[in-house]
């Protein structure tokens, strides 16, 4: 219930060191490489789906996906100071929400698909954002 939760929060906020005990910089960088946020291969084969009778081309496409722990986003513009500022702002807006960067695509590419419709007309259509080319922490 919210009452209890508020009680907990009250406890939490009375012990600042607890808040400070959030994940320190070091924790972020210690994420194990194999679980770090990165692109994973996933190939969608239209042939394996049994669709080669109506999809003329391509045979399939490398959709891929992003997964993995988001390490502290210490890239160019998101240095420790900026991150602390973002963290503080988010905290002010929504105290209960501990912002955590999420692993998601940073570069997506289109594919074109050539297929028959029900009337045997042929359609060539471009589909945006179908292939994950790069992942990153947002």
């Amino acid at each position: 219930s919210t009452g209890k939760r508020r009680q907990q929060n009250r406890n939490r906020s009375t012990q600042p060191q607890e808040a400070a005990k959030g994940p320190g910089i070091s924790d972020y960088n210690s994420s194990d490489q194999k679980t770090a946020c990165r692109k994973h291969e996933l190939y969608v084969s239209f042939r394996e789906l049994g669709w080669q009778d109506w999809i003329i081309a391509p045979e399939g496409y490398a959709a891929n996906y992003c997964d993995g722990e988001c390490s502290f986003p210490l890239n160019a513009h998101m240095n420790a100071t900026n991150h602390a500022i973002v963290q503080t702002l988010v905290h002010l807006m929504n105290p209960e929400n501990v912002p955590k960067p999420c692993c998601a695509p940073t570069k997506l590419h289109a594919i074109s698909v050539l297929y028959f419709d029900d009337n045997s007309n042929v359609i060539l259509k471009k589909y945006k954002n179908m292939v994950v080319r790069a992942c990153g922490c947002h």
């Binding site: 291969e41 969608v44 669709w51 009778d53 391509p58 050539l114 419709d117 009337n119 359609i123 060539l124």
Partner: protein, 266 residues
């Protein structure tokens, strides 16, 4: 089916998950991909032999043009299609088509639904009619360009050093027992000896047909020799429904997708 996913040259693709999808997984995946492609269900084209006629070949040429990075794979597929025919017709997609393609998001080719070969009494003209069903065009798409494509074979044996005047009309009003009311779209002079695809721009007509389908009464072509004699399009070497599959007349329309299909977050 194979258990493994192969790329074009039959190598097992590195670090792809290699296992067969279970039935329910396959069905889930199919639903997922259809929703991404924006299709309500998987199409079931009745491909007696249509699969290998001129329209898919033309569209495959266009696909090949825009999918350069997969060019090696595509040429394989294209050669496979073409190898099914004895005659290697001239390249289908022209430079003009590729420029149309640059600012289009979708291209549709339409098979010719009906063809009246009106070999009428001498005082009335020979002509050939074509009809296309544009009702399958997704709602609200604007046609940015559209072509009627007709294959002409060489007939220099029968018409030595002769020229023809080929005229394409839009049928405006049909008149039972009489010539229909026609709107001239384009006239073109050709040598009897010429061979290859003729493209006629019918963008305005296609937009009219999309906006008011009841005006879609099809196209008519007629042919005259240089001394004004009306001859049948077939005599002039224009390929109709009874001609070779890969030379069938068809129509192709280029669209600018107005609403972007947003994928639901999964």
């Amino acid at each position: 089916g194979s258990n493994y996913l192969f790329d074009g040259n039959n190598d097992i693709h590195p670090n792809f998950v290699h296992r067969r999808l279970r039935t329910h997984e396959k069905r889930e995946m199919q639903k997922e991909i259809l929703s991404i492609l924006g299709l309500p269900h998987r199409p079931r084209p009745h491909l007696s032999h249509d699969k290998y006629n001129s329209a898919p070949l033309f569209m495959l040429d266009l696909y090949n043009t825009i999918s350069n990075e997969e060019k090696t794979d595509m040429e394989g597929i294209l050669d496979q299609y073409k190898s099914m025919f004895t005659t290697q017709g001239p390249p289908l997609a022209t430079f003009q088509d590729s420029t149309f393609l640059n600012d289009a998001d979708m291209v549709m080719s339409f098979v010719n639904l009906v063809e009246y070969d009106r070999e009428l009494s001498p005082q009335r003209r020979h002509h050939k009619e074509f009809k296309f069903n544009l009702s399958q065009i997704p709602e609200g798409e604007a046609v940015t360009a559209s072509e009627f494509r007709l294959y002409k074979e060489c007939v220099s044996q029968a018409f030595k050093n002769e020229t023809f005047l080929i005229t394409v009309y839009q049928v405006v009003q049909e008149r039972p027992g009489r010539d229909a009311d026609l709107f001239l779209l384009e006239s073109r002079k050709l040598w009897a000896a010429e061979e290859g695809w003729l493209e006629f721009d019918i963008t305005a007509t296609s937009n009219l047909w999309v906006m008011s389908p009841h005006h879609n009464l099809g196209l008519q072509i007629s042919v005259e020799t240089s001394n004004g004699r009306s001859i049948s399009p077939k005599e002039a070497g224009l390929v109709g429904r009874d001609g070779a599959l890969e030379k069938q007349p068809f129509m192709v329309a280029f669209f600018k997708v107005s609403e972007v299909h947003i994928r639901s977050v999964r």
